[in-house]
């Protein structure tokens, strides 16, 4: 039997060694990981408007995407870089100080406005890139991402099956008020004549509610910019 002192020192020693090894690995691999994350972000942004080939994603992004940062009043903020904005940090600021990134896709035939959204699912953060038509009302496409929603249930939000349900839906009603888009509870609803609702996912009500909340909470900050740009 080892003495108490030995046991304590041993535990401390092991912890110290492990800490140093992990810190070195994290610091050493960070540049590669950051590059991967930036690439994944570019692909996700492009994916909301076109079919992406990962090989050409970086070039396509430079060619087609124009970045804009606006404030909550809907005015463009010069000098801020949309791609590098940390949405999570921004969402903690007072609403009037918040900076909002927008990515504008300028293709040969059409222009789309892509808005990044961030919220919480059941187990962790979820995010989306929502692409709008030039009327800043009709959804052109959406790409969801999640960290740790349940595979087969909540994780279904980033499948084409779910994402395609948003195509053609509307954010604003006829009077011009922001209605956002809500996910219905359960699946099997016919939403063809309900422009502000999409069919839900059975067994993933918490994640679906997270998606609904994310749309409602984040889009209201963008509404002033949408209204200004449209008129």
């Amino acid at each position: 039997m080892h003495s108490n002192k030995y046991t304590f020192l041993y535990a401390l020693g092991v912890t110290a060694v492990v800490a140093v090894v992990l810190a070195l690995a994290a610091a050493g691999l960070r540049p590669l990981q950051d590059a991967n994350e930036a690439q994944a972000k570019r692909i996700a942004i492009l994916q909301s408007v076109i079919d992406v080939n990962p090989e050409t994603a970086e070039a396509d992004y430079k060619k087609y995407i124009e970045e804009v940062v606006v404030n909550a009043a809907g005015d463009v903020v010069p000098g801020a870089v949309a791609f590098d904005l940390n949405i999570k940090k921004e969402s903690k600021k007072a609403p009037e100080e918040r900076l909002l990134p927008i990515f504008i896709y300028k293709g040969e035939q059409r222009t789309n406005y892509i808005v990044p959204l961030q919220g919480n699912g059941l187990w962790g953060p979820i995010s989306a890139f929502l692409a709008l038509d030039q009327d800043l009302n009709t959804v052109y496409g959406v790409v969801f991402n999640h960290d740790k929603e349940t595979p087969g249930l909540g994780a279904e939000i980033n499948t084409d099956l779910f994402e395609d349900r948003y195509d053609g839906k509307k954010l604003f009603d006829d009077s011009g008020a922001l209605q956002s888009i809500s996910v219905l509870k359960g699946s099997g609803h016919d939403t063809s004549d309900r422009p502000h609702y999409v069919d839900g996912l059975s067994g993933a009500t918490m994640t679906s509610n997270g998606v609904t909340r994310m749309f409602a909470n984040e889009l209201k900050f963008y509404a002033p910019y949408f209204n200004k740009t449209r008129s």
Binding site: H2, L29, N36, P151
Partner: protein, 227 residues
Amino acid sequence: MSTETAAAPGVKLAEPKEAMFSKKNRRLLTDPFNDTNPITVQILGVCSALAVTTQMKSAFVMALSVTVVVGLSNMTISLIRNSIPSRIRMIIQLTVIAALVVLVDQVLKAFVYDVSRQLSVYIGLIITNCIVMGRLEAFAMANRPWPSLLDGLGNGAGYGLILLVVAFFRELFGSGTLFGFHIIPQAAYDMGYVNNGVMLTSAAAMFIIAIIIWIQRSVNAKLVDVS
């Protein structure tokens, strides 16, 4: 966890000099493929075998990650086995496993980002994979580093083999692809062939593992329960 790990007790190697790949050492590598397979015989690590086997690619990366983690943690623990205070030995084992898993996770994020996204939580859950701790307790604590490394790699590979077999059937019949390449020709779909959705659910993995166990036991006489 420790109650599950008694299935394959380690053999104490007493001889001071032994060839690197002696018969005994080779058996450490090969036994887990059949006689002491972690999934089909020891019934360990079934959770992840259900979760990551819808596609060959994620099953392969998972198998590789587990093999690396079991091999290296077995070796590390074996190196320090005589100095570990017995009262905190499980915590030390867990620390070593957790550190290795975090390392693997970081490396995957840096080099195969999409696969790491796909495996998401399951990489972190290698920490709780009973195979890893089972081998540490049953083998590494009582054997020297080299045999421990072999035992770890063997068990990881035995686990991986089953993962790949299960993933093969699930991906082929569930999605019609293997490693993402289309195998079942479009003509078959045109004639009315439909992918089997059940294969994509975890239940299918359970059936496949059960069938593998059934076949293995009817072929391998050593596994037949005498009682």
